[in-house]
C-alpha cells in the first residue's frame, strides 16, 4: 500500500480538503454570519465574507439577550451532573471491577443495555414524576435526569480503568492495614485519575449539550441552559441568525476544548470490546 500511497499523495490531499470542506461547511457559515450585521444576513445573494465586519453581535448577546444567564445555568447543570455522577458511578464501578458478588455479570450486562435507552422513552413519564416532586424549572431536576442517563457509560468506563490496575498494588495496601474504602480512595483513585478525568469531562460535555430534558422541564428563561436558550432565537416566522450563530460560537468553544482532551480515551472506551488486548 505504501507505493500506492506515495504515488497518490497529492490526490489524497485534494480529497482531504474536499471532505473537510464538506464537514466544516456549517462552521464556516457560523463564523461568517456572526460577523455580519442584522441587515446583511438578509441580503441576496448571500455574502461569504461580510462586507462590513462587525462584532456588535457579541455585545448584543451579552447585554440584550442574557447569554450570561444561559451560560450560568449550563455551568451549574454540567458541574452538578459531573459531581453527582462521579459520586454514584465510582463506587459502583469499584464494586463491579474488584469485588465478587452474586449478579456481577448481570450488572455489567444491564449497564451496557441501558446505555442505549433513549431519554425520549422516559421523558413523558418523568415529566409527571418531576411535576409531582416539584422539580420542574429546577436545576436539580435537570441534574438528576442528566445523571441517570450518564451513569451507565461512566460506570462502564471506570470499571475498565479499575480492572486495569494490577491487584497486587491493592493487596499491598490492604496488607498495610488499609480498609477497602481506604484503598479505593487512596490507592485506586489516584492511579485511575486520568480515567476519572475523562469520565468527568464526558459527563460535563453530555450535560452541556443536552437539549431534550431542558426543553421539557424548563420554562423559566433564567433557568434555561445554553442549548435551549439559543433555541429561543428560532422564531416561528423569523430567526435572529446573527445572534444565534454568535451564541453558538461562544457555546461551542468550551465543549470543543474539552472534547479534544478526552477524544482518544473516549474512542478507546467506546471500542474497548474490540481494541482490548
Amino acid at each position: 500500500m505504501s507505493n500506492w500511497r506515495t504515488r497518490n499523495r497529492p490526490l489524497v490531499i485534494l480529497l482531504t480538503l474536499l471532505l473537510l470542506g464538506l464537514m466544516l461547511f456549517p462552521f464556516f457559515v457560523m463564523v461568517s454570519t456572526m460577523l455580519k450585521s442584522s441587515q446583511e444576513i438578509y441580503v441576496v445573494p448571500a455574502t461569504w465574507i461580510p462586507r462590513n465586519l462587525t462584532f456588535a453581535n457579541f455585545t448584543r448577546v451579552w447585554i440584550e439577550y442574557h447569554l450570561l444567564l444561559y451560560f450560568r445555568s449550563s455551568l451549574i447543570v454540567a458541574l452538578g451532573t459531573m459531581a453527582l455522577n462521579i459520586l454514584v458511578s465510582v463506587p459502583a464501578a469499584y464494586a463491579v471491577a474488584r469485588l465478587r458478588f452474586l449478579g456481577r455479570k448481570a450488572v455489567m450486562y444491564l449497564l451496557l443495555a441501558i446505555q442505549m435507552f433513549s431519554p425520549v422513552i422516559v421523558v413523558i413519564s418523568l415529566f409527571r414524576i418531576f411535576a409531582r416532586a416539584q422539580l420542574i424549572d429546577t436545576y436539580t431536576g435537570l441534574i438528576l435526569a442528566n445523571t441517570v442517563f450518564t451513569i451507565s457509560f461512566a460506570t462502564w468506563m471506570m470499571t475498565g480503568y479499575f480492572s486495569a490496575i494490577p491487584s497486587e498494588i491493592e493487596e499491598a495496601a490492604r496488607i498495610d492495614g488499609c480498609s477497602r474504602v481506604g484503598t479505593l480512595l487512596r490507592v485506586m483513585l489516584p492511579i485511575a485519575a486520568p480515567g476519572l478525568v475523562t469520565v468527568m469531562i464526558y459527563n460535563f460535555i453530555t450535560a452541556w449539550n443536552e437539549f431534550l430534558f431542558a426543553l421539557t422541564f424548563i420554562n423559566a428563561r433564567a433557568k434555561m441552559p445554553l442549548t435551549l436558550g439559543i433555541y429561543q432565537f428560532v422564531g416561528r416566522w423569523s430567526t435572529q441568525w446573527e445572534l444565534l450563530t454568535t451564541s453558538a460560537f461562544l457555546a461551542l468553544i468550551p465543549v470543543l476544548v474539552l472534547f479534544y482532551l478526552i477524544e482518544k480515551q473516549l474512542v478507546a472506551g467506546l471500542a474497548s470490546g474490540a481494541v482490548k488486548g
Partner: protein, 303 residues
C-alpha cells in the same frame, strides 16, 4: 471450603458481597427511581386513558394500542425509522471509511486534518442542527448561494420545505454528526494492523484493493461491527436533529418514532398514544441493545 455447610448464603452474603451491594446502592437507587420506574409508568400510561397533563384516568386495556396500530401514519413512521436508521448508518460507515483511509496516509498536516474532521462529532448536536437550519435556508442560506454561484445547481430546492428534500437534508445532518466517530474508530483499527501483513501482501503482488479487502477489512471486522451497532442505536435515537430541523415535517415526511413520541405527548397532549409509541420504541431498543451486549461479551471471551 467445599463442605456442604458452606452454604450459598455465606458464599454470596459475605462481607465482600455486602460491601459491593452497598457501593452500588446509590447508583441503583437513582436508576430504579428515574429510569426503571418511569419506564414502568410509561407502560401504565399506555394502558390507561390520560388527561392533558398525562395523569392516569381509567384503565383502558389495549385501547390505545389498537388506536395507534390502526393508523397509517404510525406504520409509515415505523418504516421510515427503519429506512432512516439503515440508510444513515450505511452512509456513515462508507464516508467514515473513506475519511479513515485518507487519514491513514502520511503527509504533513495529517494531525490537523484529523483534528478538524472531529469537529462535527465534538460539537453539540442541538447547536449543529440549528446551524444547519440556517445553512439550508432557501433564500439567504449559504448552501444555495454556493450552489448557485458555482453553477453546480442553478435552481436548488427549498431544502426543508418539500418532503423528499427535507428527508435528505435531515438525514444528512444525522450522517454528518456520526461520520467522525466511524472514521476515528476505523482509523484506530487500521493503525493497529501490523505492517508485516501489508509487506507480505506486497511480496505476493497484491494491489491496493486486494490488500484493502483481504487485510484491512478483516483486521478491523470487530470494530466495524461494534461501531455500526453503536451508531445504529444513536441514529435511531437522534431526536435533536429531526426536532430542531423540521419537527418531523413537512407533513410527516421526516417523522421518526422518537419525535412522534415527543409530539404526541407534549404538543398534542395525547399521552396514552405517546406512551404506546414509547413502548414500541422501548421494545425495539431493548432488542438492539441485547444484540449489542451479546456481541460485546462474545468478543470479550474471544480475546
Amino acid at each position: 471450603m467445599g463442605a456442604s455447610t458452606v452454604s450459598l448464603r455465606s458464599r454470596y452474603w459475605n462481607k465482600e458481597a455486602q460491601l459491593a451491594y452497598l457501593l452500588m446502592l446509590p447508583a441503583v437507587v437513582l436508576l430504579l427511581s428515574l429510569m426503571v420506574y418511569p419506564i414502568a409508568y410509561v407502560f401504565m400510561m399506555s394502558l390507561y386513558r390520560t388527561d392533558r397533563l398525562g395523569r392516569l384516568q381509567e384503565f383502558a386495556g389495549m385501547a390505545a394500542y389498537l388506536e395507534v396500530f390502526s393508523t397509517r401514519v404510525f406504520w409509515e413512521t415505523t418504516v421510515r425509522t427503519a429506512v432512516w436508521t439503515v440508510l444513515a448508518v450505511v452512509v456513515k460507515a462508507v464516508l467514515g471509511m473513506i475519511i479513515a483511509l485518507v487519514l491513514n496516509v502520511e503527509y504533513t498536516g495529517r494531525r490537523t486534518a484529523r483534528m478538524l474532521f472531529i469537529i462535527p462529532w465534538a460539537s453539540s448536536v442541538p447547536i449543529s442542527a440549528m446551524l444547519w437550519k440556517w445553512v439550508y435556508d432557501h433564500e439567504f442560506g449559504l448552501l444555495n448561494q454556493t450552489l448557485r454561484a458555482t453553477g453546480i445547481w442553478t435552481n436548488p430546492p427549498v431544502w426543508l420545505g418539500a418532503p423528499t428534500s427535507a428527508f435528505i437534508s435531515t438525514i444528512w445532518v444525522d450522517i454528518w454528526v456520526g461520520v467522525p466517530f466511524m472514521a476515528l474508530i476505523f482509523l484506530a483499527g487500521m493503525q493497529a494492523i501490523s505492517r508485516d501483513l501489508y509487506e507480505s501482501g506486497d511480496i505476493d503482488g497484491a494491489n491496493a484493493t486486494q490488500k484493502f479487502v483481504h487485510i484491512t477489512i478483516p483486521g478491523i471486522r470487530h470494530l466495524i461491527l461494534i461501531a455500526t451497532m453503536l451508531s445504529s442505536l444513536w441514529t435511531f435515537n437522534d431526536f435533536n436533529t429531526v426536532f430542531i430541523l423540521t419537527k418531523g415535517g413537512p407533513g410527516t415526511s421526516t417523522e421518526i418514532l422518537i419525535t412522534a413520541v415527543y409530539k404526541h405527548g407534549f404538543e398534542w397532549l395525547r399521552f396514552s398514544r405517546a406512551a404506546v409509541m414509547a413502548v414500541v420504541t422501548f421494545v425495539i431498543l431493548t432488542m438492539l441493545s441485547l444484540i449489542y451486549a451479546r456481541m460485546f461479551f462474545r468478543q470479550e471471551r474471544d480475546l
